[in-house]
Structures are given as C-alpha cells and as structure tokens.
Amino acid sequence: ADKISLIPQDFFAELCEQIIQHLNHKIPGINTAELCQRIQTSGIEINAGDLAKIANIFSFLFSTAARNNLSTEELVITLGNAVSTLPKHALQVIRHVWNEQGKSISVSEDARNRASVGQFVDMKWKLGVAMSSDTCRSLRFPYVAVTLSVADPSGQVTDKSFEMSIPQFKNFFRQFKEMAAVLETV
C-alpha cells in the first residue's frame, strides 16, 4: 500500500484505465514497464516489479468485482481494511473508474486454459552481421535478431529476444505465410 501512495494520481488513473481496457479485451496487455519508465522520469522512485504487483492486485480486484456485479460502494467495502491504508487520491480514482466503467466489464469465462499462452503484442528487429570473434577473424555471418513483446494472461508485457540465421528466418517467414493462408480459409 505504501508503494501505491508513491504513484501520482494521474499515473494511477492511467494504470486503472489500462487494467479496465485489458479486462475488456480492448488491449492485449498492460505495459507496466513503459508506464514505470514514465513515472521514473517524473522523479518518482518505483521499480517495474512493484508496479507490476500493483497492477496485478487491482486487476484481480476489478475482475472479481465485475464477476460479482459489485456496485462502487460494495467494491469499496471489499477493499476492507486496505481502504484506510490507501491514499485518498487512489481511492478517488478507484471510485471514479468503477463508476464510469465497472458495469461494462464482461465476465471472463475460462481463463485457465490459456494459462501458458501469451498474446503477441509487437516485434522489433534488426539485421546484423557477425564480423569476427575470438575464435574466428572472418565470421561474416548475417543474422536476424528479434524482440517479441508478449502479454501474459494477466496482462503483463514482457520481451523475449532471440536470433535466427538467414535460412532460419526464411523458414520463419514461410511458416507465417502458411498460417495466414490457413486462417483465411478457415
């Protein structure tokens, strides 16, 4: 709770907004890393791990409240003792967000099946050539390096990086073309 009080009101509101949007499947994930960077830039000392934990807590709170069709006041009661430890501005945001959007959250049916599957969010790439190494002065090896941004079921966005040789890349490309063809015909 003390970490929550570190977050300025507008950033906290933005976080809650993202959480609601994620619960409504409007966005694939909550980009806590990016939000954390912006909060840090404004001079607040909070780390991405703490922000992620806070996001999880409120995601769970809002989805439970949605499932049980809670009104704003009932939601506040659910917070129970935590209410007194939450900063006033945070409580204000929660009330406001829930008043505006609480009813629109659709209830999740069966999230457990998808537990280990992430959602593709975005991809960054670069084409490189490894020139030399300690064991070989003339490598001249071209490769493709990619970073996939992936949202896990809870909405957390993480980056996964890996490299491919040119033949591996060509195969990768071909597989996606096949996928597109199949998706189209289904």
Partner: protein
C-alpha cells in the same frame, strides 16, 4: 603412408578443436597414427599442424588465399613440404564449410530459434461472444542457448496479428537485399 597419417592427424585436430569431441586426446592420436614417434616430437607436429589449421580456419580462406598461404609455408625455414601442403589443402576443401559453421555456432551465445510449430484453433468457448468461431494461430517456439535447456514460448496470433507479423517480416526481407 605419410599423407594418410597427416590426414588422420588433421581430422583428429578438427574433432577436438571444432567439433567438440573431447575424446580424441593427443595420446590417442599419437598411439593410433605415430606410435613410433617420441611424445615431444609428436607434440611439436601436432602443434604445428594445429596452428596452420587455425590460421586457415580463422581467415576462412578461399582457394586463392589457401594456395598463397601454403606456398609461403613451403618456402619457410621449418615450414612444410609440398606433399604436406597438398594434404592440408585437400583437408580444408573437404572440411571448410563444416568448420566454419562450427565457429559460427561457437559465437552464437544468445537465444536462438531452434524450432517452431503451429496450429490453427477455432475459439469455440470465449470470453467474448463476438470471438466465438474466430480462428487463431497458436505458435510454439523453442528458444535455446549453447549448453542450456530450451525455453518454450507459446503465443496466440489472430489474423490481424499475423498480418502485422508478416509486414515486419517483409521489412526484414527487404533489408536483406543489401547483404
């Protein structure tokens, strides 16, 4: 005869240095190829040949470079004979690609895409009514590093995401024309 033995020696050196076969020890090689040679004599021969092979592999020499290099070695004091040069040349021609690949592989210590599988599912049960009967691609990627266990990444792509991916992959392919 000498050529066969030298060829065997070069193979043995390649096994340890480039193909990661730790079983081929110096003792084993000497015993199998030059049992009559004194240990120090054999060690010197092995070091000399290993050094030559290393120079050739490190520069990934083509035939012209190789010829120039080996010719220079035959003219040196304590260099090699032209017979030995011929054996080394033949060995390099046969093993160049494999040795180069091995050196490349040694330098790739980051995550590498090892394998990829996919299937298309129809979402029959969904959180959102409008998502029922939408096809999604489920892709499983195996990522691995040298000497570590693979990590499996499982991702979901709908048609739009596949398009997004294809667009990026096209960009990559276009940029490859400069290679």
């Amino acid at each position: 005869e000498g050529s066969k033995l030298l060829s065997g020696l070069l193979s043995g050196i390649a096994q340890t240095t480039y193909y990661g076969n730790a079983d081929i020890t110096e003792e084993l090689l000497r015993g199998q190829l030059y049992p009559e040679a004194a240990p120090e004599e054999f060690r010197a021969l092995r070091a000399k040949m290993g050094g030559l092979l290393q120079s050739i592999a490190s520069a990934d020499m083509d035939l012209n470079q190789l010829e120039a290099f080996l010719t220079a070695q035959t003219k040196k004091q304590g260099g090699i004979t032209s017979d030995q040069a011929a054996v080394i040349a033949k060995f390099w021609k046969n093993h160049r690609v494999k040795i180069h690949e091995s050196l490349i592989s040694q330098s790739r210590w980051d995550n590498v895409l090892k394998n990829m599988n996919w299937r298309v599912d129809l979402k029959s049960q969904s959180r959102h009514v409008d998502q029922i009967n939408t096809p999604v691609a489920i892709v499983e990627m195996e990522l691995g590093r040298n000497g570590k266990e693979s990590e499996f990444l499982c991702l979901e792509f709908d048609e739009a995401k596949v398009s997004q991916m294809l667009k990026k992959l096209s960009e990559i392919e276009e940029s490859m024309t400069v290679l």
